[in-house]
């Protein structure tokens, strides 16, 4: 009987982990000792950071979408058949078509999704750039925008924590290029008591906002939107009028997680070092799906994938490894249309952002193309 590895989810985490495992275990797979099955809900793989650029007409959708099959090592069996139940007591995943996938090792990589409906009026009153349709709709809204107050608001929890800052700086450059800065007020809001979760980033960004005339309000958590009157109300009791509302909607994990009793909100209890699902030694969790208090970002998923693939391959080949996740996250931060910075941090070392530069912006644009190598487990 071969060792059966089942990966649920074909996003960054699932795909990188799968490809790394297939490479590490290709002899065992070819000898019939290991089988890797990936279960996912759609045939396409989307590079989600590209949505930000679509909103400004700088990237076309074709550039950020590939066929999932084309990204996978041929040793992986791909099933486009959404998982509807994970039964950890029986070590089996059940899909929408009714098929059962028994496993010896399970990798849960079901990611996160936006839930604008969680805030009354948000779906009707706001734009966002966290899915393709939303980014395209925002692009059209920006093209037709003639001036007024643009409010940026951020739901909790959310993925890609640097995106609210990026969209704000890019909006500034967009309106500057159009010669509209005198007709536009950019108003940034943020849930906690500084303009970004990372303190050094917040300390850098706030003076930049002031220099550019970008207004901001902190401790602002969206409570409800009145799309008719164009008013955004916060949990903290303030109201904001807007002409264009750009929100990062709150996120939830996948429905299958809640339906399987694996975690409230769709987040799975995960050991922050081993990346094992707490209480289940043969279940690993990667990417946004974990409940680890860490950035939900492709970069996090990438570095977690390295650890999970190494741990499972080593357990099969050598009986185990000491490899653990150290909390590493690396994020580029676009600071406008032609400059960027980046942050690197882990559980023990806080980030120290470097001064923005054109070179880092070009590296970010380069990485947008190189992502496909990351997904394939090469980079």
């Amino acid at each position: 009987m071969p060792k059966r590895i089942v990966i649920v989810g074909g996003g960054a985490g699932g795909t990188i982990t799968g490809n790394l495992l297939a490479r590490n275990l290709h002899h065992q797979i070819e000898n019939g000792q290991v089988v890797i099955n990936m279960i996912t809900d759609k045939p396409e793989h989307v590079y989600q950071p590209g949505f930000l650029y679509i909103a400004f007409d700088k990237v076309r959708p074709e550039e950020i979408i590939r066929k999932q099959q084309d990204l996978l090592d041929p040793h992986i069996n791909l099933f486009i058949d959404p998982a509807v139940k994970i039964e950890r007591e029986k070590n089996v995943v059940i899909t929408k078509s009714g098929k059962e996938f028994p496993y010896d090792y399970l990798i849960v990589a079901t990611g996160s999704r936006i839930v604008p409906e969680a805030i009354p009026g948000l779906k009707e009153g706001a734009h966002w750039f966290y899915d393709l349709q939303g980014a395209q709709k925002l692009r059209e809204a920006l093209k037709g925008f003639e001036g007024g107050r643009v409010v940026i608001a951020v739901g909790v929890p959310h993925k890609c924590p640097v995106a609210p800052l990026e969209i704000t700086f890019m909006l500034y450059d967009y309106f500057k290029q159009k010669g509209m800065l005198d007709k536009v007020e950019i108003y940034y809001t943020y849930p906690i008591n500084r303009v970004h979760a990372l303190e050094p980033v917040a300390n850098w960004a706030a003076p930049q906002f002031e220099k550019k005339g970008i207004k901001y309000e902190v401790l602002f958590n969206m409570e409800e939107v009145d799309p008719e009157k164009k008013i955004l109300k916060s949990m903290e009791g303030t109201h904001l009028n807007y002409d264009l509302l750009i929100a990062v909607p709150p996120h939830k994990g996948a429905q299958v997680i809640e339906d399987s009793g694996m975690g409230k909100g769709g987040w799975v209890a995960t050991n922050k070092q081993t990346l094992r699902n707490e209480g289940h030694n043969n279940v690993y969790v990667v990417g946004d799906t974990t409940d680890i208090p860490i950035s939900k970002a492709g970069s996090t998923a990438h570095f977690e994938s390295d650890v999970v693939a190494e741990r499972i391959a080593s357990e099969i080949q050598e009986g185990g490894t000491m490899t653990e996740y150290d909390g590493k996250v690396v994020c580029f931060v676009e600071t406008g249309f032609d400059e960027a910075t980046y942050v690197w941090f882990n559980y023990k070392n806080p980030p120290k952002p470097t001064p923005p530069s054109k070179m880092l912006h070009w590296m970010k644009l380069g990485y947008n193309r190189m992502y496909w190598l990351s997904a394939r487990g090469v980079l």
Partner: protein, 79 residues
């Protein structure tokens, strides 16, 4: 502490991003009314910022405790 029943603990010690206060906001949004949440933070600032936010949004601060090199903030979702 024996008289406080904690339903959920988020160990946000060393968590640079999204950080302890964002974790508290997440828990307060996600959990059901009546849930008691504890946030562990290695940032001294959380011991001041979290109670201030709870007061601002009308949620209950149960206890703030310094435990050597970290802080425990316990809150109850009451609405």
């Amino acid at each position: 502490m024996a008289d406080i029943k904690i339903d959920k603990t988020v160990d946000a010690r060393g968590a640079a991003c999204p950080g302890p206060l964002m974790e508290l906001i997440k828990a307060m949004k996600q959990e059901s009314i009546g849930t008691v949440v504890e946030i562990l933070s290695s940032e001294k600032g959380t011991s001041v910022d979290a109670p201030a936010w709870l007061q601002k949004v009308g949620q209950e601060l149960v206890k703030v405790e310094e435990r050597g090199d970290y802080w425990s903030i316990i809150a109850k979702k009451i609405k």
